[in-house]
């Protein structure tokens, strides 16, 4: 009986391990390629980190650096050259500015909306909510062109506003928070009203703290989506490299005369991905701890 159980568990784990490998493999390739030399990448040799032989890199020399400067180990070269060739810190900062601005404004809009839709009684509430649901069905790409035209008319192309404004109202955020607020007991809100809070104070001082777990879930969706977004920045940032977000920055390593520089390219991708993974791990811990509503009953 016990042996059978172990076999059953073993199968489950075997399947999960295969799944994990499939998901992890691209990350493994990315990290591995960011450490190896061009020859090793192209000949698919060298295992995880390659031989790490000190060598002189021709593309580097072609770019105009002295041979002495261009002689180093592959992992050093890849990361050094990635930062040398593109202003990656600038791209990362742009990424932070854009994703945080989007997230903060999304919360400022979504929380009061969700509160009104979940807890206030007013004429037309169901209609408004069905509109929210309806908007969930509209694909971003479908309205990209009209949005672009509007931003262009307003003279906002090639600005931070163009990156931020279209995403400030998140119907998904409104929907998610509304569903969570439905579970908050009405009595808590009534108690806050009796204590003398206004409706906005209730949103920020009572609803927001109880909604931290849901808000974190939303933060993960929102930040990941906009940090990784390539489509929209590619549309509205046409020339100004100072406004490039990380995914646009990675594109710098593709094409051109010195094409196929996979090492530095992967190094830049690692740099761009790591902040997100770290943020996710931190959030995940809080996410699981959560703030429960055990104080209620």
């Amino acid at each position: 009986m016990e042996a059978k159980q172990y076999i059953g568990e073993g199968w489950k784990h075997a399947i999960l391990i295969i799944g994990a490998i499939v998901v992890m493999l691209p990350f493994y390739m990315m990290v591995s390629m960011s450490l190896k030399s061009q020859q090793e990448i192209q000949s698919i040799s060298g295992g995880l980190i390659g031989a790490q032989e000190t060598q002189t890199f021709p593309v580097c020399v072609k770019t105009g650096y002295s041979e002495e400067t261009c002689t180093m180990k592959p992992y050093q070269y890849n990361y050094w050259f990635a930062f040398e060739k593109a202003p990656i810190p600038r791209y990362l900062m742009n990424g932070v500015i854009v994703t945080l601005s989007i997230f903060i404004i999304q919360v400022l809009v979504a929380l009061p909306c969700a509160y009104a839709l979940a807890k206030l009684r007013f004429y037309g509430r169901e209609f408004v909510f069905s509109m929210v649901l309806f908007c969930l069905l509209i694909p971003v790409h479908g309205i990209a062109l009209p949005l672009y035209v509007m931003l262009a008319q307003a003279g906002l192309v090639d600005t931070y506003s163009a990156l931020i404004l279209p995403w400030t109202i998140s119907v998904f955020g409104i929907f998610l928070m509304r569903q969570f607020f439905m579970t908050v007991p009405d009595e808590l809100i009534d108690a806050a009203r009796m204590d003398g809070m206004g409706e906005y104070a209730i949103v920020w001082k009572v609803m927001l703290p109880t909604a931290i777990p849901a808000l974190l879930a939303f933060a993960i969706f929102s930040v990941v989506a906009h940090w990784n977004d390539y489509f929209w920045p590619r549309m509205v940032i046409t020339g100004n490299r100072d406004l490039f977000t990380p995914p646009l920055g990675i594109r710098e390593f593709r094409g051109g005369i010195d094409s196929d520089e996979f090492g530095p390219m992967m190094a830049s991708i690692v740099t761009v991905t790591v902040p997100l993974i770290v943020a996710f791990i931190i959030a995940q811990k809080r996410f699981i701890e959560g703030i429960t509503l055990t104080g209620m009953k």
């Binding site: 808590l188 108690a191 204590d195 809070m197 703290p209 104080g295």
Partner: protein, 377 residues
């Protein structure tokens, strides 16, 4: 001062009428209980007093001022909720401080960090601290001040909820079934504590409950509501002894009052089963309901024209009393009789018993359920 007057209050949700033209005057310092079965509108009425719900028509007056258009936060009332509704993310101390901070600090002083630069804030903070400390000592929750509500037991949360209502020293307390989440022993204990609290605060309490025992034990007056109507508003003793209608009589008292079907003849003599009442009914020649409480019936060895016979179906031993559920001979009725253990302990299920009534205790109701008085006798 804390008088509350409700004048012609009606409330409907859509086409459903929840409250029907209610008039209640609550005196200063009174402990008034709104009692009734679930769905009778008592909580809605409390919420209308609080300002959390808007009445469809009628006026609410607090200290003789019309507050129809005054928001809940400005009515200076405090409310204790069934689920306690403590802020789960704040410590007990902050929970108690919240209503005071909102009342005493101005908008600038409530701002984080820069609010501290306001010169008057320090003084206000001190007075808030004093009030919180005083209240927590009264309620014996001083050692809980740094905990979060999630770390407290039900009884402790109850106290904190009371404390949050008390710190502000409001004109009246509104309580919406505050004891119903506690276990039976604690509930009985809290009843006496609430009564003591009321005596020491001398503030108006409006207390909603579906438990008639809470209403009988704590209130100075109780208002019995059924189906959105106020049926009777009087002292607990008066409501118990002199219910105005059959519904009130059946709702108040545990176990329930026994109802017998009877008739009155042309002279007003009331008879049911084989028994005639001595007193005469003011309504003659009609069918009546005769209500007799379990403690006004007793099991006896006599058998005469004043007794009737039945079979014990179930024996409910509470230690101090034994309640016998008795099937009456003609099969029409199942009644409950109280017996004292020392006289009735040998009676078991299935035994046949004679039942005698205590005279002058019967209550008469007509077919519409309204009370019928006896003639002067």
């Amino acid at each position: 001062m804390g008088t509350i007057s409700l004048k012609n209050i009606s409330k409907s949700f859509g086409s459903t009428q929840v409250l029907n033209n209610l008039n209640v005057d609550i005196n200063d310092g009174e402990f008034l209980t709104l009692v009734g079965p679930s769905g009778c509108g008592k909580s809605t009425l409390l919420r209308i007093i609080a300002g959390l719900e808007q009445q469809t028509s009628g006026d609410v007056l607090i200290d003789n001022k019309n507050v129809n258009r005054v928001r809940a936060s400005e009515r200076d009332l405090a409310m204790v909720f069934q689920s306690y509704a403590l802020y789960p993310h704040l410590t007990v101390r902050r929970n108690l401080e919240t209503p005071l901070r909102l009342r005493d600090y101005n908008a600038f002083e409530r701002l984080p960090l820069i609010g501290n630069f306001s010169p008057s804030k320090k003084e206000k903070t001190e007075s808030i601290n004093q009030l919180v400390n005083k209240t927590s000592e009264t309620l014996k929750i001083s050692e809980l001040l740094d905990r979060k509500p999630g770390q407290l037991s039900g009884g402790q949360r109850q106290r904190v909820a009371l404390g949050r209502a008390m710190v502000r020293e409001p004109v009246a307390f509104l309580m919406d079934e505050p004891l119903s989440n506690l276990d039976a022993a604690l509930r009985v204990h809290m009843r006496s504590e609430l009564s003591e609290l009321h005596n020491s605060l001398k503030t108006t309490f409006v207390y909603v409950t579906h438990d008639q025992a809470e209403a009988l034990t704590m209130s100075s007056r109780m208002a019995v509501m059924i189906d959105g109507n106020l049926l009777q508003l009087d002292t607990p003793q008066e409501v118990y002894d002199n219910p105005s209608s059959l519904s009130v009589a059946q709702f108040v008292g545990s176990p329930k009052i026994n109802i017998f079907k009877g008739t009155s003849d042309s002279s007003g003599t009331v008879s049911f089963l084989n028994v005639n009442l001595k007193r005469k009914s003011s309504e003659s020649n009609t069918d009546l309901h005769i209500g007799i409480r379990p403690e006004h019936l007793e099991i006896t060895n006599e058998s005469n024209e004043n007794t009737f016979n039945g079979t014990v179906a179930y024996r409910e031993n509470l230690g101090s009393d034994i309640f016998f559920h008795v099937n009456i001979e003609d099969g029409s009725n199942k009644i409950i009789v109280r017996g004292l253990p020392q006289f009735t302990h040998q009676i078991s299920n299935g035994s046949s018993v004679n039942i005698k009534r205590v005279s002058d205790k019967a209550l008469l109701f007509n077919q519409a359920g309204m009370r019928v008085q006896f003639t002067n006798a």
